[in-house]
């Protein structure tokens, strides 16, 4: 077993983990159920979390590698997510909802890196988040509507 200490959603956590423990399992063991197990082959983006503010796939990250780092899941970013998730829901773009937490996490990363992204930047940044319900157009419209609304408010 390996002793690790990391900051999860603002709280310092110490634990002992197996050498091949995967961050996805560790996070769910710590009640972060927003982190979903999807393809487990790095393709779907369902398990996206932020590690030191960068989006990563927790299904493919050794927990040991998170030692000393800052991890954020949707449980710790409710306020930031609440700014735009309503716009996505308005477009019916969440449908079954299984991909939603990973999609929202990566959208948070997108908006932090590109505060006013173009449609191409949105599509490119979110290309690693698969959704089998929506066809992506509704999600794009939702983000675009959020950005338009924010920009109107700023004026």
């Amino acid at each position: 077993m390996i002793d690790i200490t990391l900051t999860l959603n603002g709280k310092k956590i110490s634990d002992s983990v197996e050498p091949d423990s995967i961050l996805l399992d560790f996070l769910r063991d710590h009640k972060c159920y927003s982190v979903k197990r999807g393809c487990e082959t790095t393709n779907c983006g369902l398990c996206t979390v932020l590690m030191d503010d960068m989006p990563v796939l927790s299904c493919s990250m050794l927990t040991a590698r998170a030692n000393g780092h800052k991890i954020l899941t949707l449980e710790g970013l409710q306020e930031e997510a609440s700014e735009f998730v309503g716009f996505i829901a308005d477009q019916g773009a969440d449908q079954c909802g299984f991909c939603n937490p990973g999609f929202v996490m990566n959208t948070i990363a997108l908006l932090r890196e590109y505060p006013d992204p173009t449609d191409d930047e949105i599509k490119s940044f979110l290309a690693g988040n698969l959704c089998r319900c929506s066809g992506y157009e509704g999600q794009l419209r939702g983000i675009r509507n959020f950005l338009n609304s924010r920009s109107k408010e700023a004026k």
Binding site: D20, G45, S60, M61, L62
Partner: protein, 263 residues
């Protein structure tokens, strides 16, 4: 299922090298491809604490640490300015941002994967690999070697005056490429690498001078035929050998036209 018995965060390259001499131990980079296997690793050797996650630059070269992520390559202004965005174009469609934050140049180059966009684009540059024990080796030579128990420390890209461009065909964005092709002109000599053949990328240099008298429709046809004859292709579920050879000629032709400003 992929399992690890022991995890060691190496405190030096020497420690990592010593551990890596046991064939049951493995250096882990991004670990994205390795994790999909069914291997049983005795000791996973993590080199992420050795400061190899930065790109250093001086007047003569870029020195890219093995643990630099593909996302860092994609966003590195100076490297992409030098390569006319060829490096960015080569990596930007690899899965997603999250994947590219984890995948490393060292893992991609060391693996010499057949599907590698990364190997393809760096082969077309004046690139060398720095091995811990093996010293500095041209990437074109390294790409032909089998894996051993050395450690890839850095990728060195010399700032030789260059024109370079990159193209790939994917059946679907973010999927593995059907074919990749990078083409450059260094000191007036054209070199092109073709990857996802589906074997590992191969480099062809126009040493016979097919394009020496100028890049035009006629010489492009001759050179693309020469490259198609020189670089073998084969089939997999993404395409037949014939289709890949055809793609290689089309992509190379477009690369040459772009480099010469013909279209």
């Amino acid at each position: 299922m992929f399992t690890i018995q022991k995890y060691v965060c190496a405190s030096s390259l020497e420690e990592a090298y010593e551990l890596n001499q046991d064939k049951n131990n493995k250096i882990i980079a991004g670990m994205l491809w390795m994790r999909l296997g069914k291997g049983k690793v005795n000791t996973a050797i993590d080199i992420s604490g050795l400061g190899l996650d930065t790109i250093e630059e001086d007047d003569e070269k870029f020195s890219i640490g093995a643990m630099v992520s593909l996302r860092t390559l994609e966003k590195h202004e100076s490297l992409n300015s030098y390569t006319n965005n060829a490096v960015c174009n080569a990596v930007k469609d690899i899965v997603g941002v999250q994947f590219r934050n984890q995948a490393t140049i060292g893992g991609s180059i060391w693996g010499r994967f057949g599907f590698s966009d990364v190997l393809t684009v760096f082969l077309a540059l004046d690139t060398y690999v720095e091995l811990y024990k093996g010293g500095i080796v041209p990437l074109s030579k390294f790409a032909e070697l089998k894996e051993d128990n050395d450690i890839l420390v850095r990728i060195i890209v010399k700032k030789t005056p260059i024109k370079v461009t990159y193209r790939a065909v994917r059946a679907q964005k973010t999927d593995f490429p059907v074919l990749t092709c990078a083409t450059s002109i260094i000191n007036g000599v054209v070199r092109t690498s073709v990857g996802a053949r589906p074997g590992r990328a191969k480099l062809v240099i126009d040493n016979s001078g097919i394009l020496f008298s100028g890049i035009n429709e006629d010489s492009i046809t001759k050179f693309t035929s020469y490259v198609a004859d020189t670089i073998p292709t084969s089939k997999n579920l993404r395409g037949s050998a014939e289709y890949r050879t055809h793609l290689a000629k089309v992509l190379l032709s477009r690369n040459l036209e772009e480099l010469e400003g013909l279209k």
